[in-house]
């Protein structure tokens, strides 16, 4: 974990779980695995607070625990996982994706699971159905549990949700907040509860248990009658088992990331070529969704015949046209699609890792272009393309006057976007007898940019916190007034009274609130945009790590 990542993690924890959890979390991130006693000693927090915050972290998978390294009998150690904490930043995107794919129900299921870390299926279904019912209040309808259940099963089927690894009872004791039992029985997968669960190690990972849950969602404050019914039902149902006790579910972030990656590739194809090409690539990716392993460099080969059959009929693409499009895709220098063979009308693959590398390169180029201007970007691209060049060659190829080119090259060099390689003709490294070659190393540069992204997001969050702190008084006031207004409306007050209360916020204050709202929105959307860059770069870095390993 770099300092930037820890800072960002701290900010995210503070925002979502408060200052105490932040303190414990960042402490764990900085100092690695530690036992409870050391944490209490080093953070100086009271025992119960530390325990509670550890519970929160474990509940969200942001922290895992294992029996001590010094053998059986020594205290359990806790380790925070920074990657999981950084996922918090992407929550809006997960929720939005679930909404576009599975509608409101999917959105709420993912939202509930993200907010609570992990839940059993039955409780998720109940909560979601209740919330949906509450939203439908105006229409007087209610949500059936079975509908939510089927949405949940669909999410599991497409592997967006997965079971939490079995914990051998240790988790239950954690959840209730009791002191951790030393030396938890070692079950497979315990050391990394947030790691991707491969179906091989957990055969039931994506198996939906049969739950017995019949009924409809209930409104919480609909009426006294409903309240009665609810409590009655609750009393009746609570002792009842739904058949899925002890099976907890969590969001499969990796699956979402694969989806994001596919989307990035598809939109890149749409930008570069055209809509039809992107639809063909989308079809190819969808066909190989299940058969291709998450870390594969390219999808399993698909024949042109198969692709043709799987294309949605609404696109109306004829077979010869499809062949032409596929040739176009293969010929394209970005190499999104590659040809793997000639059988079956040509076998085609989507080069996932190469596409990621190309997208990351485009990201770097765009970062240079926006920050240093298009001419510097020209030099940057030139170096990416030609690998090693001398200063004179850079000037000639880029057609930029020597003086300016030198300036740009040195600026890029000082920002570590361009590297300098010395090749001496004699062992004394005399400048007159040394070649100075400029080059761009894509992977380290991408890593650096990723760190910049972390810092940027942290800056944006800090700014947002600062902005809200600045107008704290105003916000509180407006909230109070809104509360008064709501209560007045319920009690059926006179319209004059309402306007009187409303006028308690003066016009300039209103304006200030409005601008604050704008600022916060802008900062929020900027955070999400930077997160997209972060995602691309992270995917690229991890893909090169797996392909070289």
């Amino acid at each position: 974990m770099t300092a930037q990542e820890v800072r960002l993690c701290g900010l995210l924890l503070r925002e979502h779980f408060g200052e105490v959890v932040e303190k414990v979390g960042t402490h764990l991130l900085r100092s690695g695995a530690q036992n409870l006693r050391t944490i209490i000693h080093e953070t100086g927090l009271p025992l119960d607070l530390v325990k509670k915050s550890l519970c929160v972290l474990v509940q969200h998978g942001a922290c895992n625990f294992r029996s001590g390294r010094k053998g059986p009998g020594c205290p359990t150690e806790y380790q925070a996982s920074g990657d999981r904490i950084l996922r918090i930043l992407r929550y809006p995107r997960y929720i939005y994706t679930a909404k576009t794919l599975y509608g409101d129900t999917g959105e709420l299921i993912i939202e509930e699971l993200l907010q609570r870390g992990h839940m059993t299926m039955s409780s998720t279904v109940k909560t979601v159905a209740d919330r949906l019912t509450q939203n439908m209040e105006g229409q007087g309808r209610s949500m059936d549990y079975s509908e939510v259940t089927s949405a949940f099963s669909k999410l599991v089927e497409t592997q967006f949700l997965q079971r939490c690894p079995p914990m051998g009872g240790a988790r239950n004791t954690k959840d209730s907040g009791s002191p951790p039992t030393p030396s938890t029985p070692a079950t497979p997968g315990t050391p990394a509860s947030t790691a991707l669960l491969t179906p091989e190690s957990f055969p039931d990972c994506y198996k939906v248990p049969h739950i017995t849950l019949i009924g409809r969602g209930k409104r919480r404050h609909s009426s006294d009658d409903g309240e009665d019914q609810k409590s009655a039902k609750k009393a009746k149902m609570d002792p009842e088992t739904h058949g899925d006790e002890g099976i907890y579910w969590q969001v499969n972030f990796e699956r979402f990331h694969l989806h994001f990656r596919d989307q990035a590739v598809i939109s890149a194809v749409a930008n570069k070529l055209d809509q039809t090409c992107s639809e063909i690539v989308r079809t190819m990716l969808r066909m190989s969704e299940v058969t291709t392993s998450p870390s594969a460099t390219c999808t399993k080969p698909l024949s042109a015949n198969e692709i043709f059959r799987s294309l949605p009929a609404s696109y109306n693409i004829l077979r010869p046209i499809l062949d032409q499009y596929l040739t176009l895709l293969v010929d394209d220098p970005m190499e999104f699609v590659g040809k793997a063979g000639e059988s079956g009308g040509g076998m085609f693959v989507v080069n996932l890792h190469r596409a990621l590398a190309n997208l990351a390169r485009a990201t770097l180029e765009s970062a240079v272009q926006e920050r240093f201007g298009s001419r510097s970007a020209r030099i940057f691209r030139l170096l990416l393309r030609k690998r090693h060049l001398e200063q004179k060659q850079v000037e000639d190829f880029a057609m930029i006057p020597a003086k300016e080119a030198k300036d740009m090259l040195y600026t890029l060099l000082s920002q570590n976007l361009v590297q300098l390689q010395e090749i001496p003709k004699t062992p004394d490294y005399a400048p007159s007898r040394t070649f100075y070659l400029y080059t761009v190393n894509q992977l380290p540069t991408a890593r650096m940019l990723l760190q910049n992204c972390y810092k940027t997001v942290a800056n944006l969050i800090e700014r947002r916190l600062f902005e809200t702190k600045e107008s704290k008084r105003l916000l509180e006031k407006s909230q109070r007034i809104e509360a008064i207004l709501a209560s007045l409306q319920v009690s059926g007050a006179e319209p004059e009274q309402l306007t009187e209360v409303e006028e308690m916020i003066t016009a300039p204050e209103k304006q200030q609130l409005e601008s604050l709202r704008l600022h916060i929105n802008k900062l929020d959307s900027a955070e999400n945009q930077v997160d997209e860059t972060m995602f691309l770069l992270e995917a690229y870095v991890s893909s090169t790590a797996t392909s070289t390993a």
């Binding site: 176009l328 970062a367 926006e370 691209r381 930029i400 940027t456 800056n459 944006l460 930077v530 997209e532």
Partner: protein, 360 residues
Amino acid sequence: MDGWRSHDTVLQRCVHKLDIGQSNDRQTVDISLLWLWLLLTCRAAILKAVQLFVVFFFFIFVYHRIRELCQQFPHGITDQVIQNDMPHLEPQQRAAAINKLLSLGQLDLLRNSSGLLYRMKDAQSASKMKGSDNQEKLVYQIIEDAGNKGIWSRDIRFKSNLPLTEINKILKNLESKKLIKAVKSVAASKKKVYMLYNLQPDRSVTGGAWYSDQDFESEFVEVLNQQCFKFLQTKADMSRDSKQSPMVQRNSSFATSHEVWKYICELGISKVDLSMDDIETILNTLIYDGKVEMTVIAAKEGTVGSVDGQMKLYRGVNPVIQPTGLVKTPCGLCPVFDDCHEGGEISPSNCIYMTEWLDF
């Protein structure tokens, strides 16, 4: 220089011997009675005349033959070539002929790895160099050898071993005679290179079409860059709107470098004549801008715009991604990004860039 001179004298000595030998040879010529009578009457005088005559014509013949050979082989001929061409000629005669030509200043004697080489001197330069001393000739020779790339005065000094002051004097002298000229190089503005007066300086010296008076014309390059892109872009747009099959669409969006060149020429934005290579350099900058793609295809020999049976095709392309999210924030463009820390002089809370961006 000294080497050559000593060689000259040796050859001249050879020629003397040759002359005597020749006169003996020619005594067996068939002659008429009248000639016999004349011979008898004023034998000595006629003998001398005939001798001179024969020698003269012989020289004319050999001289012409060598000149032809030199023209045939502009890089120079060796002794062996002359020998193969005129096998009846004896070594001494050959030497005499060459010696004469050398002394007349019409032939150059060069030395290479395989031996001596003879080369015809420019008739013009030979006449120009009249009245110059050997040092001047030497400097001229060095400058001539440098060709249209030119040579720096310091390099002349190294090659000639003459003192710098002397060289400067000679250079001034030659310049005033309009035998050589000084050209300012674009590589280093203070550096003057010398070359023969009638030569067109090399591109590496003048910088080609992109320089005027040693200044790189970046505006000109930018304008050409934009125009080329506009041309390719319209072509790509047109092909996209044509609603043809995808392959045809792609292929019709390509333009050869020759087409671009013709377009630029017809636009008339350039005062200087641009070559195809110039346009290709411009198109390459577009590739580095990420706006254009290039492919090379095989072309039929003799097709317009093909070079060595290859044709370069260019087409405008769309960017793969929109500006990335990072650079849409002020931090992505911040010049003091590395100095920014919470609680510091520069911090996200008091950042002026962020304030401006938020109020925008």
